[in-house]
């Protein structure tokens, strides 16, 4: 199956990835080859097989709903590109 440039751009938008126009052909070609490769899974007979989500077939372990970590906001925000008054700064969203 060959993915078109438009399809690739649509997937990139869903993935929140900006692809340069010059890259799109190459990405479409390689992505098409990957899709062709994984297409062979369709031939496997999985009629009565349940999907496997966890290698040990374990369920999600839950914990008590209590705070276990100290507040380390300043330390965590030291990695942020832009903060002010303890808040993360992003470009203006609403006019």
């Amino acid at each position: 199956m060959s993915l078109s440039k438009d399809q690739v751009q649509h997937i990139a938008m869903l993935a929140r990835l900006r692809l340069a126009e010059s890259e799109v052909d190459d990405v479409a070609d390689k992505l098409s080859r990957i899709v062709d490769f994984v297409d062979q899974l369709g031939a496997a007979d999985t009629g009565n097989v349940s999907p496997m989500a966890h290698p040990l077939n374990q369920g999600q372990r839950l914990r008590a709903d209590v705070v276990t970590e100290p507040n380390a906001r300043a330390q965590i925000q030291a990695n942020a590109p832009a903060v002010q008054d303890g808040l993360y700064l992003v470009p203006k969203v609403i006019e």
Binding site: I11, A44, T46, V49, S50, L56, A80
Partner: protein, 484 residues
């Protein structure tokens, strides 16, 4: 000193033959002189290492400390290290300094291990050749024109070149075992859930597992002893007692049932490689093991299954990198969507982008059932194949990689050829099984690995098998000439 294994160094430290500071200084010098040429490190933590070595020496002087007090090690740059940058081989995290330690880092530090730095790796552990790193490829110490394998290529190259006796690594589809095979080192991927994933930057959460690269099975056993065990902070951690891995290393192989997979020795395997692996299995047989053929009928579907499941999980895990709270942020974004798209487009390399796109595609409306759900069902079939095989045998032995180390750049233009490099290792990740690669020969001056896979939580048996094999051979002691 650099030629000694981790356990030999531990004995030397205990006997006060040398101090941890002297050892650390010697290795730091070696890393600076010869390590740079291999590009095996992203960060060297000289000051922190010397401070930890001094603390270890104080304990050792009082005859205190444990088995690993003062021994050196390096961490793959996928493990978060408090106060030290953790890049995961990506431009996205080039400037990220973790505010906390991964459980693996924390447990090894608590045991007195001295970390000398962070090793180079494929970006976000996505790659089989260590060529996708933002910091450039790692070179194989056996031949600088060849790949050391990936994604733990920096860890494997550093251990193979005697820059360090041991290193941590992670394995999502073979990322510990394949580089171990291509560099002539020992690589252990434990059972899924055996070692905590807390603080290990996630790529594909149902497959990722932390492990070690060493030069002896005894070293791998000693490190796993400290790293393994339940961790409340990792919801996938398994609450099961940790056995004494070193106690059973010397057990006889008498009665051990080894499975040989029919499909492993087909046309895809390099003939010389196959011969070395068969010779290695004969050594195990001579040690008392019996050999039996087993079938993994869905083996050929393991790579396509992996390349649906792993990208699907990756596309979700990578969504945390949005340029807002940490990591690379594009300049002068016009709005929030532009900020997300450009930050991610600039911060991620081509392979990571390809996997995010593949994952987004297979999870998108209209394709989810045909790709993702079907892959999860085939994954069940593959796990069932292993369950059936392990009803008849204790260990499966075969090749780790289809061929010895390949030239850098040889497979970068063809993702499928690169992906097929992991055909023998991926099955263990899909089924969550423990597996090891052990040096078992040389082809054209390049190392070859023997792959051992066992049922869940059979690390003791794999380590025993590797240790007994190493006792009969010297492949694990070979060192590239320039690094002796």
């Amino acid at each position: 000193m650099h030629a000694l294994t981790l356990t030999e160094l531990a004995q030397g430290l205990k006997a006060r033959d040398f101090t941890s500071r002297t050892l650390t200084e010697t290795l730091l010098e070696r890393i600076a002189e010869t390590g740079a040429a291999l590009n095996a490190f992203i960060t060297v933590t000289e000051d922190e290492a010397l401070a930890a070595a001094d603390a270890a020496d104080q304990l050792l002087a009082k005859n205190k400390g444990g088995l690993l007090t003062g021994v050196p090690l390096v961490h793959k740059d996928i493990f978060c290290t408090r106060g030290v940058r953790t890049t995961c081989g990506s431009r996205m995290l080039d400037n990220f300094v973790s505010p906390y330690d991964a459980t693996v880092v924390e447990r090894l530090a608590a045991a007195g291990v001295v970390s000398l730095g962070k090793t180079n790796m494929d970006e976000f552990a996505m790659g089989s050749s260590n060529e996708t790193s933002y910091f450039g490829p790692v070179l194989n110490p056996w031949d600088h024109a060849r790949s050391p394998g990936g994604s733990s290529g920096g860890s494997a190259a550093a251990v193979a070149a005697r820059l360090i006796p041991a290193a941590t690594g992670t394995d999502t589809g073979g990322s510990i075992r394949q580089p171990a095979a291509l560099t002539g080192t020992i690589g252990l991927k434990p059972t899924y859930g055996r070692v905590s994933r807390y603080g290990m930057i996630a790529f594909a959460s149902s497959l990722d597992q932390a492990g070690v690269i060493t030069r002896s099975a005894a070293d791998a056993a000693a490190l796993l002893q400290v790293m393994a065990g339940f961790d409340e902070r990792d919801s996938t951690s398994v609450d099961q007692p940790v056995p004494d891995y070193s106690a059973t290393l010397d057990q006889s192989l008498q009665g051990l049932r080894i499975g040989i997979v029919r499909q492993h020795f087909d046309a895809g395997l390099d003939a010389d490689n196959a011969q070395q692996v068969k010779a290695a299995i004969a050594v195990l047989e001579a040690g008392g093991a019996t050999v039996k053929e087993v079938d993994l009928p869905n083996l050929d579907l393991s790579v396509p299954t992996y390349y649906v499941v792993a990208p699907a999980e990756c596309s979700s895990n990578m969504s945390r990198f949005d340029g807002v709270r940490f990591g690379h942020r594009a300049e002068n974004a016009t709005d929030l969507l532009d900020l997300y798209c450009r930050s991610r487009g600039e911060g991620f390399g081509a392979e990571v982008q390809r996997r995010i796109l593949t994952g987004t595609y297979v999870l998108s409306a209209g394709y989810y059932d045909a790709y993702y759900l079907q892959a999860q069902k085939v994954r069940q079939l593959i796990a069932e194949d292993f369950r059936k095989a392990f009803a008849d045998v204790d260990v499966i032995a075969g090749p780790t990689s289809p061929a010895p180390a390949f030239p850098l750049g040889d497979k970068t233009d063809d993702p499928i050829t690169m992906y097929l490099n992991d055909i023998y290792t991926i099955g263990a990740n899909l089924a969550g099984l423990p597996a090891m690669s052990v040096p078992c020969g040389m082809v054209d001056g390049l190392p070859v690995g023997l792959h051992l896979v066992g049922p869940h939580f059979s690390e003791e048996r794999l380590l025993n098998c590797a240790h007994r094999y190493a006792a009969e051979t010297n492949w694990h002691t070979l060192c590239p000439e320039a690094y002796r």
